[in-house]
Amino acid sequence: MMMIFGIPLQAFLGQLLIGLINGSFYALLSLGLAVIFGLLRVINFAHGAQYMLGAFAALLLLSYLGINYWVALIIAPLLVGLFGAIVERTMLSRLYKLDPLYGLLFTFGLALTIEGTFRYLYGAAGQPYSVPPALAGGTNLGFMFLPIYRGWVVVVSLVACIGTWLLIEKTRLGAYLRAATEDTVLVQAFGINVPLLLTLTYGLGSALAAFAGVLAAPIYQVSPLMGTNIIIVVFAVVVVGGMGSIMGAIVTGYMLGIAEGLTKVFYPEASNIVIFVIMAVVLLLRPAGLFGKDA
């Protein structure tokens, strides 16, 4: 049997794949957080709850309306994005002139409210969501067995990340967003409706979280606490990548997912803390993060 650093190749690649899948979720979620923080300067603590809402939306659409995974992959992010836009327009927008701490406290309260409501309605236990038939099963790559759905998650999250990056870096709308990040008042003086841009941005960030939630539903169980479990790691990813950096969020998401996966192979005891150790080291050496403006 082929070995890498004393570890069987199959085990090594298996953990690499798990790391890549986790990294896909970290990247998608931290991307949404970075988009929101970049423009709104709000640390969106409700991001984990919005991820959970996406997964629940897929589950409820299937249970009550018979809407399948593929349609849910579009509808759930739209619904959660709309919910996010309403929250921003009616509540969050009132806090922009105050200390950023108020935005953090508001979204923290919102997350607790959403999660508490879902725990009351559906209980704390996870509920299964089946892999769509077209993506069921797996394929033998010779050196490892690849579940098709997990391969799909890696590919589709990569496409979503690149698509969002292109939207922000290469389009007129993205130029508005980047300019508004630097000087909101001047951008408004140019005739751009920045309050609308802020609403759309929060909606987009929420929709990205919900998209990750739908992708996660068949892998992890759909549970009111699924967002709480992942959001702390995602915050670490955003800090390592550089607060507000889109490319930083994407690259660091995958990188830390893989680092976590490989730690499970070489030193499993440290796998739960490796991301936070990396975060501490990065903060000491580059406080603005790997891709932050001061880096």
Binding site: R172, A175, Y176, R178, A179, T181, E182, D183, V185, L186, V187, Q188, A189, F190, G191, I192, N193, V194, P195
Partner: protein, 233 residues
């Protein structure tokens, strides 16, 4: 000359501070008007109040007969007023061309891109560079050029020559003369009196948050004594 911009008894506040004390001013269509005054008398504040950046304001602001006091900041440009701020406002995360294309076109008649590049050839050469990598003079050109694209009828410029080399100041003067020849209305705040005296049709002198004198360029020689006293030129 048909008035394009009219200010009547305009007052403005920064929080508790009352900074404009009843500004009266008229800018005619196609005119180039310069506001003169020492530092801190309210020149920049007047421009920012016209744009709607300062929202605590009372009095009258009319643009082409339309009341602008209730117009939100992001609709001011759509009414036909373009603003080039003192700090130029070039965005670091945008390339020169992205900076140039950022303000939306608000009306027909804006300067086409190829004409802009003809007027400011440096911008064409450096169109892919980050905006803030340009020299001060080039940044000023870019700040002006991006507003010319939009088709606004009134161009508001805040201290366009500040901190620039004489050769660049001369170039900006030439550009403003070209704009005037095209019929563009320009309202300018300028500390460089010699520069302003060569291009403006009319002057307002500002002191303590209001206009204290208004005269055409032809009266400049007889007003020099007063200007020397107020501005120390």
């Amino acid at each position: 000359m048909k008035p394009l911009l009219q200010l009547g008894n305009l007052n403005a506040w920064y929080g508790e501070s009352h900074v404009l004390h009843g500004v009266d001013m008229t800018v005619g269509e196609g005119e180039m008007v310069t506001i003169l005054g020492r530092n801190g008398v309210g020149k920049t504040t007047t421009l920012r109040t016209i744009m709607g950046i300062i929202r605590e304001r009372k009095g009258e602001i009319r643009f082409d007969g339309r009341d602008m006091l209730s117009v939100p900041l992001h609709r001011t440009a759509h009414a036909g007023i373009g603003f080039v701020p003192e700090e130029r406002g070039i965005f670091a995360t945008l390339s020169v061309e992205e900076n140039l294309m950022l303000p939306p076109v608000v009306a027909e008649g804006g300067m086409p891109l190829d004409e802009i590049y003809e007027l400011f050839p440096n911008l064409l050469e450096r169109r892919t560079s980050p905006g803030t990598k340009l020299s001060g003079g080039e940044q000023q050109m870019l700040a002006m050029a991006r507003i010319l694209r939009t088709g606004v009828r009134l161009l508001i410029l805040d201290e366009p020559t500040e901190g620039l080399a004489p050769v660049i100041v001369q170039r900006i003067g030439e550009v403003l003369k070209k704009l005037k020849a095209r019929g563009m209305t320009v309202l300018l705040v300028e500390q460089n009196f010699r520069f302003a005296s060569k291009i403006a049709d009319r002057f307002y002198l500002m002191d303590h948050g209001k206009m204290v004198a208004d005269f055409p360029v032809a009266q400049l020689p007889e007003r020099m004594g007063m200007l020397n006293t107020v501005l120390g030129v």
